[in-house]
């Protein structure tokens, strides 16, 4: 192995700067986060005065009620946002795959939620949902469909679904673009052949189109899942995790623990757990990508 490295020393020298940068900006923070997760960082002390407490942070997290509540919220948020965004994006991609007048304009309009700033979108939606003078509530009251504006983000039972709607609105265009790209790889002759063989629209979709989209679907779902697991902007700006922690997900909770409460140790332990989960998702992502490559290579 050393001989091989020596033989390729010039190649390694070329990538060395990149490796050094990665070690500084990725490896060191990961190491430091893991290290910090074994320390207590009381609010009255500086970080350098931290106390080693072994796995107490992990024990405290796993035995706390908030952890399970936040984890449940994160699962609902991630699965709900990912699944619905994907289905909606896929359905839109199928609808826009056919040629019709105005398709280009419609496609451009549908991409808008994805390209506008998440911060701006969060503020706009906060006002749309506003429990006292939001536009949705006003319209419902004007139309006589409600006596008073519905409570979207100030209620523990409706806040998370309301935020998921905003997240879906923002990210379904991403799924749409991915699936539209995938649809263009489905060979036309196969679809025509299936039609000649008497396959109906559903059979053509299920037996010809969908199998061709399996890999792009997997990658899209994984990318959405990772992005949703890491979501911060929408819940933090719209509700700050409230009311009563009902919209706290892992990332917002970690942020509050670290920057609001200065529990750097506990926040780091949370981050390590999150890192492990995301690494597993990353593994499946890489597998999906390498599956693609193998297929491409064998074709």
């Amino acid at each position: 192995m050393l001989r091989k490295i020596w033989e390729h020393r010039a190649d390694y020298a070329y990538v060395l700067p990149a490796i050094a940068v990665m070690l500084i900006v990725i490896a060191y923070p990961i190491y430091y986060t893991v290290e910090l997760s074994f320390f207590n960082t009381p609010p009255g002390l500086q970080l350098r005065d931290k106390n080693f407490i072994g796995i107490d942070n992990y024990t405290a997290i796993l035995t706390s009620e908030v952890f399970w509540k936040v984890t449940w919220n994160t699962l609902i948020w991630t699965l709900g946002s990912t699944f619905i965004s994907f289905v909606l994006g896929f359905a839109t991609a199928l609808a826009l795959h056919r040629d019709f007048i105005g398709r280009g304009v419609l496609r451009a309009i549908l991409i808008i939620p994805w390209v506008i700033s998440a911060v701006a979108a969060s503020y706009i939606w906060k006002w749309i949902y506003h429990s006292d003078f939001g536009i949705i509530g006003a319209v419902l009251v004007q139309l006589g469909l409600a006596d008073r504006p519905p409570n979207f983000i100030d209620s523990v039972s409706t806040v998370l679904p309301s935020l998921i709607v905003v997240n879906i609105w923002r990210e379904f265009p991403f799924a749409m673009i991915m699936m539209m790209a995938g649809l263009q790889t489905v060979p036309d002759q196969l679809l025509r052949a299936a039609k000649v063989d008497g396959a109906n629209a559903w059979q053509r979709f299920w037996h010809v189109t969908f199998p061709h989209l399996r890999n792009v679907s997997t990658v899209t779902i994984l990318l959405l899942a990772v992005a949703n697991f890491n979501s911060f902007i929408i819940p933090w700006i719209m509700t700050g995790g409230g009311p009563s922690n009902a919209s706290h997900i892992w990332i917002t909770h970690i942020y509050e623990l670290a920057f609001g409460r200065q529990r750097w140790g506990v926040a780091s332990a949370y981050s390590v757990l999150l890192f492990l989960i995301l690494m597993s998702l990353g593994y499946f992502y890489v597998r999906a990508l390498s599956g693609n490559e193998r297929k491409d290579g064998s074709a």
């Binding site: 009311p243 920057f259 529990r263 140790g265």
Partner: protein, 493 residues
Amino acid sequence: MTRITLGGAVLRGTVSTALMASLMSAPALGAAPVDLSKWSPEYVRSIAGTQDFDTAADCAKVTPLDYKGRLTFWYQGVFEGDPDLLRQYYKDFFETFRKTYPNIQLEEQALTYNDLLDKFRTALLGNAAPMAVRLQILGGTEFASKGYLEPLKPEDVGYSTEDFWPGAMKAVTWDGVTYGIPTNNETMAFIWNADIFKRAGLDPDKAPATWDDVVKYSKQIHDKLGIAGYGLVARKNAGNTPYRFMPQLWAYGGGVFDEATANPTYKQIELASPQSKAALQASYDMYVRDKSVPVSALTNQQADNQPLFLAGQLGMMISHPSDYNVMLDLQKKATGTDKDKAQTVIDNMRYGLIPTGPDGKRAVVFGGSNIHILKPEYVEGGKVDEPAAKAIICMWTSPEWSLKMAYAGSNPGNLNGFKTKWMKERLDSIKFLDVTTSMLPYGIPFPALPQSPEIMNIIVPDMLQNALTGAMTVDQAADDAAKKVKDLMGGGL
């Protein structure tokens, strides 16, 4: 115009004499610049415009005007809820500083109240803090106790400790050492819309006397007019929440600890006391039982209540004297019939003292900001230009600028500011200023503990949210909050 006799109300005020003593117990180093024992709107008027100050000459004694240096400075600046007038004064201050000290290269950065603490804490961890910082009153003790701040007292920039409110000096003192200088001190007041009161069958010129009255009035306004009665604010991680809930908590006789007493020890946790629970119950009654406050209170800040009030959709709220100017600014931006509606609200705006609790206790948060110098090891580049830092601190905390920078929304940290000609001008131009200066003696500082930011910005709002959303009963929410404070003080994870 408000018809309540403010001076009389102050004198009649049943706030504990102990509290007054706490606020006014500065050791005398010489003749008191402002006689706090005489404090009343009449006294404030009598001293306004009686003394001239030459800020540049005063600060030249601290840092020569030709001093050459470089200063990085962060401050809690103006934000969306502030009036345009204040924006102009902030602009003027930095222009004047650059003219006065042309050889100091100033790199200033304004941050909002809710963002500053998080950013500053993060910068400290990376030894990338600015050389000087102006922080909200809650922050001083936290950073002093952790050893980030240099000792700094008014005498270091040419003033006397007596020039500042003793209550404000408490917030910059840790372990007997002073680590900063107050820039401004504020107490809020109770604001109501007289027209809404009249239409709801209430006396338009009489503020609710007690918090129980606030609950009743809020319900009456809501039931009769279908609009929100009281502008409750219960958002987490927002300074607006403790500034509005703590006066209620203290008025009922409750507290987080014993911070409302003359000599607080912060040993006994009072959040689960029957008095604290009664205060929480009052909020619960308004939000859940009567539905008489904005539903959006859990995600709102005061800046969200202002447009509601201006639109005539809110009857009462707690805020600064600056809200009158904010209303004027918002009215200027309105168009068509909205402009006239807004003017009607402004004409009907009334200010009064914050209501008392059932036992006649009146209280308000003694708020404000302080300015500090960082230790070099936590500053970007590892160096602090102390003369440059003292120059800006001398200017900001001068009678002139501590008054001007607090012109519409607060009061000067340097008590000599009350003697300036600008104070006289301010008394004539800022409506309702008397009410908030009258509230100053009722001011209670937040507990001077490093844990205070977490208690006030997270635990107290959480308690409110847990009770108001029904996630917990009032009793459970108060008990839960008391337990969290206990764990926090015990160093729990």
